[in-house]
């Protein structure tokens, strides 16, 4: 009877020991768990930081582009003013009074009818007015900034879909 009990006890303790061994075999070591958690936090942190970095970076780029745009527009205005001013300065330098003075200084005198000899120059149709600008055209003014710089992703996708659908038969080329 006692032998039987001892055997039972022994069997039970063996079973418990076996179970412990199994649990120990499948449970992570504590340092591993800590490492995994640390890595997870690090990955999530890096992900969040990356997202913020991208956002900040894009924002900074947008702000820089905005400031550059304003600077360039100011520069364009400056250049326009300078061009207008230089054009007028040239006109002052080549004004009738100035040119007459220069011509006189170079020894030229006003022509008289006796000095003139008229000849026929084949193909010459007389003095033609200087063309100040080209004749009217049907060119449509395009904005300076391409739409892709101002469109949202959604607008860009929508435009792409619309363009695709407007192609003959809606087929890809």
């Amino acid at each position: 009877m006692e032998t039987q009990v001892n055997e039972d006890m022994h069997g039970w303790s063996r079973a418990v020991a076996m179970e412990k061994r199994l649990v120990q075999a499948y449970r992570q070591a504590p340092w591993r768990i800590q490492t995994q958690r640390g890595v997870l936090i690090l990955v999530v942190s890096i992900l969040i930081i990356s997202i913020f970095w991208v956002m900040v970076s894009v924002s900074v780029q947008a702000a820089t582009a905005g400031l550059q745009l304003q600077t360039l527009e100011d520069e364009r205005e400056d250049l326009r003013r300078q061009i207008a001013g230089l054009r007028t300065k040239i006109a002052i330098q080549t004004s009738k009074a100035q040119m007459e003075q220069r011509a006189a200084a170079l020894g030229f005198v006003p022509v008289t009818p006796e000095d003139i000899t008229y000849i026929v120059v084949p193909g010459y149709t007389g003095r033609t007015p200087e063309i100040q600008a080209s004749p009217p055209s049907k060119t449509i003014q395009q904005p300076l900034i391409k739409p892709s710089y101002t469109q949202s992703l959604w607008e860009w996708l929508l435009q792409g879909v619309l363009e695709f659908s407007e192609q003959p038969g809606g087929m890809l080329p």
Partner: protein, 604 residues
């Protein structure tokens, strides 16, 4: 001794930090949703955008060959931001040295005692400094700033000269490179105050809206995230005129000499292409340098008009006979050879009308009547036509109406016709030779251009040849504003007036070129009747007769050397044409016909 577990310590610190974070977060939300947040947001909105008015560049004005007659130059407004100003003395000295401003005035303005109710923030000291002046000021400021930065002692630094607070901003200002040349046509632009600036007289006045463009107010974001492409503000429209700079200069020179030589009160010369109505030159006296437009009231005291060619009516005298004879021939009343016995007087409407010399010229033809400028003969032609026909023709010639020339300030004097309360039968006689009727020089040249172009078509007088908008040029086509007479009549009158000039060996004849024309001496009406000593001397002529390319109108007001148009105005016409044919590359008639035949042969 109890030992605190490290885990509980970390938990405590972590919890405290989390709590602080949460508190900050809650506080942020509270601030964002509080009542004052709306006010703060509204205040912030005021600084989000700056309202900016952009004045487009005023359009340029060119002559027909592209010479710039009116443009823009870069100038700077200079002022002082008073709160940041440190050294008014140095600012005043610098501006006196560089820009020639009055030291005392500048210093006084900068150190003026402040009105506590209206504190000043910014003071404008000058608004027309050149870029070169600004470069000098900039260099001086940089030099002074460098000295200040080198000084380490704060007290010494404060005592150093400084241009702190001095600010400048650029803008465009109207400029007329040719000075007074063509000033009567151009008008002027009052540029001193950009907000009140406006074009006056001439082209500047007539096309002010086009030249100015559309000023635009835009909101410029101060937040760089909101900055986008600013709307492109197109400059004002540029104008290309029919005026030829060389011809204009020559015309003004000849006119100034004629006015001085004849001691006339004023003078006017218009040169037009009768085939299309293009005005090649228009000179009047006095003239204003539009770069100094503020002299206007001094140069043009009331009632002197800015441009007499369009702004003053006068009784033209015998140049008007061109219209009467053209009407008579066109109506079939007379021909150049119709005989007329001049007895020296004719009674029209109960009033006797005499010739200019009160003489009787005996048997004449209509050509002879024009050659000797016989008032009696022309009054007879008008009488033969009758008032209805005569005035119908005058109305067809546009007398009494504005020509519509594209120059601001055109005036007209209404024509009294039969049936009007202020018309008397005697008017028929006096009107026939240009008395009792008032016109402007532009009206006369426009009416007579119908005769001069040999087609009987009256062309709209104009100075605008083309406009340039957004880099594209739009031409202004010539317009016919009436056909008062037939082409045959125009040719007949032209040949008749060429013969009459040759017949009287006129001072207007030009060697090598056959021209047609007519003198005019108009008496000047005053409060008590006509002023016997003073006249308006005129001449209208055109040529070459076989291929008319120019018509010239000369008017000298109250010449004192001689009252007669044939003496004072005809030589002016000749001098103008002698120079004009050179500038137009117009060979003498014989050469032109020879060259034409050569071209014909080579073409064959």
């Amino acid at each position: 001794m109890s030992k605190i577990s490290p885990i509980s310590r970390y938990t405590f610190i972590g919890g405290a930090l989390t709590l602080v974070g949460l508190l900050i977060f809650v506080w942020m939300i509270q601030i964002q949703t509080s009542e004052s947040a709306e006010d703060l947001r509204a205040m912030g909105q005021n600084y989000t955008y700056i309202l900016k008015t952009i004045f487009p560049e005023r359009g340029n004005i060119y002559d027909r060959w592209g010479h710039l007659l009116a443009g823009n130059v870069e100038v700077y407004e200079i002022g002082v931001d008073l709160p940041s100003m440190k050294d008014p003395k140095t600012i005043a000295i610098t501006l006196a040295e560089v820009a020639g401003l009055d030291y005392g005035k500048v210093y006084g303005e900068l150190t003026k005692e402040e009105d506590p109710d209206r504190p000043r923030r910014y003071v404008v000291l000058a608004n027309d400094l050149t870029p070169e002046m600004i470069d000098q000021i900039k260099a001086q400021k940089e030099q002074l700033d460098a000295q200040i930065n080198l000084e380490t002692n704060a007290r010494k630094r404060a005592a150093l000269p400084s241009l702190e607070g001095l600010l400048w901003s650029p803008r465009l200002q109207r400029s007329y490179p040719e000075g007074t040349l063509g000033a009567s046509i151009l008008g002027f632009y009052s540029y001193k105050d950009p907000n009140e600036a406006k074009g006056y007289f001439g082209v500047e006045g007539e096309y002010d809206d086009l030249l100015a463009g559309q000023p635009v107010q835009i909101l410029v974001p101060t937040d760089p995230y909101l900055i986008g492409e600013s709307p492109s503000i197109p400059p004002g429209v540029s104008l290309v005129l029919t005026i030829d700079r060389e011809i204009q200069a020559m015309t003004e020179r000849v006119l100034d000499e004629a006015v001085a030589d004849n001691d006339a009160e004023s003078g006017t010369i218009i040169i037009m292409d009768p085939r299309n109505g293009e005005i090649l030159a228009m000179a009047t006296t006095p003239r204003l340098d539009p770069n100094e437009y503020w002299m206007y009231e001094e140069i043009f005291p009331n009632p002197i008009p800015f441009n007499r060619a369009v702004g003053q009516t006068y009784e033209p005298g015998s140049v008007f006979k061109v219209l009467t004879v053209a009407a008579g021939i066109d109506a079939g009343i007379v021909t150049p050879d119709t005989p007329f016995l001049d007895t020296g007087v004719i009674n029209v409407g109960g009033i006797p009308i005499y010739n200019w010399n009160r003489g009787a010229w005996g048997p004449q033809t209509v050509t002879g009547c024009m050659q000797h400028s016989l008032n009696v003969c022309l009054a007879w032609i008008a009488q033969e036509m009758g008032p209805t026909t005569f005035y119908t023709y005058l109305q067809r010639f546009g007398i009494g109406h504005l020509t519509g020339v594209d120059l601001a300030g055109e005036v007209n004097y209404p024509l009294s016709v039969a049936g009007d309360p202020n018309w008397y039968p005697a008017n028929l006689g006096t009107n026939s030779f240009g008395q009792g009727v008032a016109t402007t020089p532009i009206q006369m040249i426009t009416s007579i251009s119908a005769v001069a172009n040999k087609e009987g078509k009256m062309m709209a007088p104009h100075v605008l040849k083309a406009v340039i908008e957004n880099g594209e040029q739009y031409n202004n086509p010539p317009q016919v504003i009436g056909t008062p007479i037939s082409a045959e009549t125009a040719r007949t009158v032209t040949h008749m007036l060429a013969e009459s000039l040759e017949g009287e060996s006129s001072e207007a004849l030009v060697e090598g070129y056959r021209v047609a024309g007519k003198t005019g001496t108009g008496e000047i009406p005053g409060p008590g009747g006509y002023l016997s000593n003073l006249t308006n001397a005129s001449f209208v002529g055109w040529g070459p007769v076989d291929d008319p390319q120019f018509i010239v109108y000369v008017w000298l007001e109250k010449p004192t050397t001689s009252p007669w148009g044939s003496v004072v105005a005809a030589p002016v016409f000749r001098e103008v044409v002698e120079n004009l044919v050179i500038l137009l590359d117009l060979p003498p008639d014989s050469v032109r016909q020879q060259l034409a035949s050569q071209q014909g042969i080579s073409a064959r």
